[in-house]
């Protein structure tokens, strides 16, 4: 027991919420607000090709035209005039850990990033504010032809055409206001290409740290898993807490080829002043498999619904997600799927926990088009209410346009039963620990999908939330 507590305290005080000592003169920061000038400035900083610069300006126009969403959590607290869309350290991206500037290195070491790489990852990318500060792939993985690099370098490499062909094609800037914003000021993120037939045995990881106050992070992740290839990609996110709003409007575009498989795992622990308006989307070709594992713990406000388009026949998707909405949080999360191909199948399984006035909303859509004969879709969402000042809402939608589909849907809302707590207490476990244990058990179907160290991290986050720190 005392051991557990110590772990909790350790994470609480040191793991995420520390603020790095920044020497301001080491950082380049774009003036707050969004205008044609800022967008051009970002483009100049990035040394964009012409098409990208024009694309950014087009996105800005779209951003100015599209209305704010009227259906989700309030984003009134987000004032774009007070967000700097570009902050970077004045040093370049490094390929060797030793060369990363000391202050940034300290941050990531405290988060355990290079350590994780040594132990269990095939490659690591680390983004600090708007730019990647570190990118490295293990030699044997690189030797298989796997490309894992920052998107900017990739734009100037032999993959330039491939990127132009795919960039914001799956998530067009017209999709919603923040997709347009992303298109206008995106910076950083990763490009991954796994060639035909290559199976990457251990995961690649990107870690995003937004350290500057009043800033936005707009990284773009583009992953192409070619025919028959296999990849597990992990992203982690964190930021220290400030009193001003921060914004994360990243974009993830995933292309899963014929017979390929991609697993995309996220543990999101943004600080509780973050507006997390992230867009993730995958398209899956014939026989391909897309697996999402998503844990949402941080942020002040979240809009997050990874979407999968099952385009090819027999393609599959599985979404496993957990959301823990604590004090002051409004987390609106879920998943979207569109079945187009024959015999496509989707399984969405989510857990949501609400506590201390937090608002947890599960929102989803399952669309089965007329072409998706013999499609199968199943949705199950469980919500756990830990008190009566919180909210747990379930807002799923189904749109089915063929009769040759098999669709099942289940939702449940409940609480921790007194009997279960008493049973555990009768074995000597304190009430608080008993509840934490039941919640961990509730979350287990998600944590067991994660690599061990992330599962441990997730359980620690749950304990942390349960102890109310």
């Amino acid at each position: 027991m005392s051991e557990n507590k110590q772990v909790v305290n350790e994470i609480d005080h040191s793991m995420y919420d520390f603020k790095d000592v920044e020497n301001e003169q080491d950082f380049y920061r774009l003036k707050e607000g969004l205008s044609k000038e800022t967008v051009l400035k970002v483009s100049e900083e990035k040394n964009d090709p012409d098409w990208m610069r024009d694309f950014r300006l087009k996105c800005l126009d779209i951003y100015n035209e599209i209305k704010m969403p009227d259906w989700g959590p309030s984003i009134e607290g987000l004032d774009m005039d007070r967000i700097s869309s570009y902050v970077r350290h004045k040093s370049d991206m490094k390929g060797k850990w030793e060369d990363v500037p000391e202050d940034i290195k300290n941050t990531f070491e405290r988060l355990g990033i290079p350590q994780a790489e040594r132990e269990s990852l095939a490659g690591v990318g680390a983004q600090y504010d708007s730019e990647l500060v570190y990118h490295n792939v293990k030699d044997e993985v690189a030797a298989q032809g796997v490309i894992y690099t920052d998107l900017e370098s990739a734009l100037r490499s032999e993959y330039a055409d491939m990127i132009k062909e795919h960039f914001m094609k799956l998530v067009p800037p017209t999709d919603h206001k923040f997709a347009a914003l992303h298109g206008a000021v995106w910076s950083g993120g990763s490009f991954v290409y796994v060639p035909k037939g290559v199976k990457v045995e251990i995961p690649l990881q990107s870690y995003f740290r937004l350290n500057a106050a009043g800033a936005g992070q707009f990284e773009h992740t583009l992953i192409i898993v070619d025919e028959g290839a296999d990849l597990h990609f992990i992203e982690g996110c964190s930021a220290p807490k400030y009193n001003v709003a921060n914004l994360h409007a990243g974009c993830v575009e995933l292309f899963v080829g014929k017979n390929a498989r991609l697993r995309y795992s996220t543990i999101e622990n943004w600080s509780k002043n973050m507006y997390n308006l992230n867009t993730k989307r995958a398209v899956v070709e014939e026989n391909g498999i897309m697996e999402w594992v998503s844990g949402s713990f941080g942020s002040h406000t979240s809009y997050l619904y990874p979407m999968t388009i099952l385009k090819g026949d027999n393609s599959k998707m599985e979404f496993t997600g957990i959301t823990f909405a604590g004090k002051g949080q409004n987390l609106d999360t879920g998943a979207k799927v569109v079945h187009q191909g024959k015999k496509t199948s989707s399984v969405i399984s989510t857990k949501s926990i609400s506590k201390d006035g937090g608002i947890g909303t599960y929102r989803s859509s399952v669309v089965i088009q007329n072409s998706a004969k013999k499609a199968k879709a199943s949705v199950s969402c469980d919500s756990l209410m830990l008190d009566s000042i919180s909210r747990a809402d379930t807002i799923p939608a189904m749109d089915i346009r063929t009769n040759d589909a098999d669709v099942g849907h289940e939702a449940k809302i409940g609480r921790i039963s007194d009997e279960a707590v008493f049973y555990l207490m009768s074995r000597g476990i304190s009430e608080e620990d008993a509840k934490a244990m039941i919640v961990s058990g509730f979350a287990n179907p998600v944590s067991k999908e994660l690599p061990l160290e992330y599962a441990v991290e997730m359980n620690n986050l749950i304990k942390l939330e349960m102890s109310g720190h």
Partner: protein
């Protein structure tokens, strides 16, 4: 009989939601190493007594006290009682998805002793205890009680009894719903616990199957919330032959 009492129940009355009492003026005195049997027809309040002794807040003590090793624990929470050395084997053990039986026992052991659990030694003793109970090893990794049959659930309770080694254990209807073989196995587990010299037991049952191979010191008969008779181990046989009728 100068020996110190382990559990003392003094003039205990219990009710739910301020309604009529379910238990009236119950008195018990259990010393280390003793085995007490609480018998009585269905609905007599036997399980209520078990829950109340273990501190289920659903049951409200309206009068009297519960003392464990001389300390008044009447208002202590269930985990405090467990840490003090009490144990309750549930009639209907709760299913807890997501936590394996073995990690649960490890957690409970750790919570009670505060000592770090040595994994190898723990697994060894778990395996030994499971063997006594003829439990398949695979149960250790299954979620606690989830999808267990009635018999497996009862065995898992006795497994926890053996692993946690309390000073005093209440076994609530541990034999109900079990076939002959399972009763024998469970009895074997309980005997194993009795072997530990100081372990004391309160066995709640409305049948006598489980008592056949166990040594019993005292038998209490509970009817309509009152202990109407207390005798020695031979009372079990008498009830076995004649039922409860003469106490009703």
């Amino acid at each position: 009989m100068s020996e110190q009492s382990l559990l003392q129940v003094k003039n205990l009355s219990v009710s739910i939601d301020n309604e009529l009492p379910i238990l009236n003026n119950i008195n018990l005195d259990i010393k280390p190493g003793e085995t007490h049997v609480l018998m009585g027809p269905n609905g007599a309040g036997k399980s209520t007594l078990g829950f109340t002794l273990m501190g289920n807040s659903h049951y409200c003590v309206t009068e009297g006290n519960i003392l464990f090793e001389g300390q008044d624990i009447t208002t202590a929470s269930a985990d405090k009682r467990a840490k003090a050395g009490m144990f309750l084997s549930f009639q209907n053990p709760y299913e807890v998805p997501g936590i394996s039986l073995s990690s649960f026992i490890r957690n409970a052991y750790h919570a009670q002793t505060g000592a770090p659990v040595k994994l190898m030694a723990f697994q060894k003793s778990l395996k030994a205890a499971m063997e006594i109970l003829s439990m398949d090893e695979s149960y250790a990794d299954r979620d606690l009680n989830v999808g267990f049959s009635g018999g497996e659930k009862k065995k898992a309770e006795i497994l926890q009894l053996l692993m946690l080694n309390p000073k005093f254990a209440i076994l609530d209807e541990t034999d109900s719903g079990l076939d002959v073989d399972a009763v024998r196995t469970v009895s074997k587990g309980i005997e194993e616990y009795q072997k530990k010299k100081d372990g004391a037991l309160l066995i709640i049952t409305h049948s006598t199957k489980i008592l056949e191979s166990l040594h019993v010191d005292y038998t209490h008969v509970l009817v309509k919330g009152n202990i109407v008779h207390t005798g020695d181990g031979t009372l079990v046989d008498e009830i076995n032959a004649n039922g409860f009728e003469r106490f009703l």
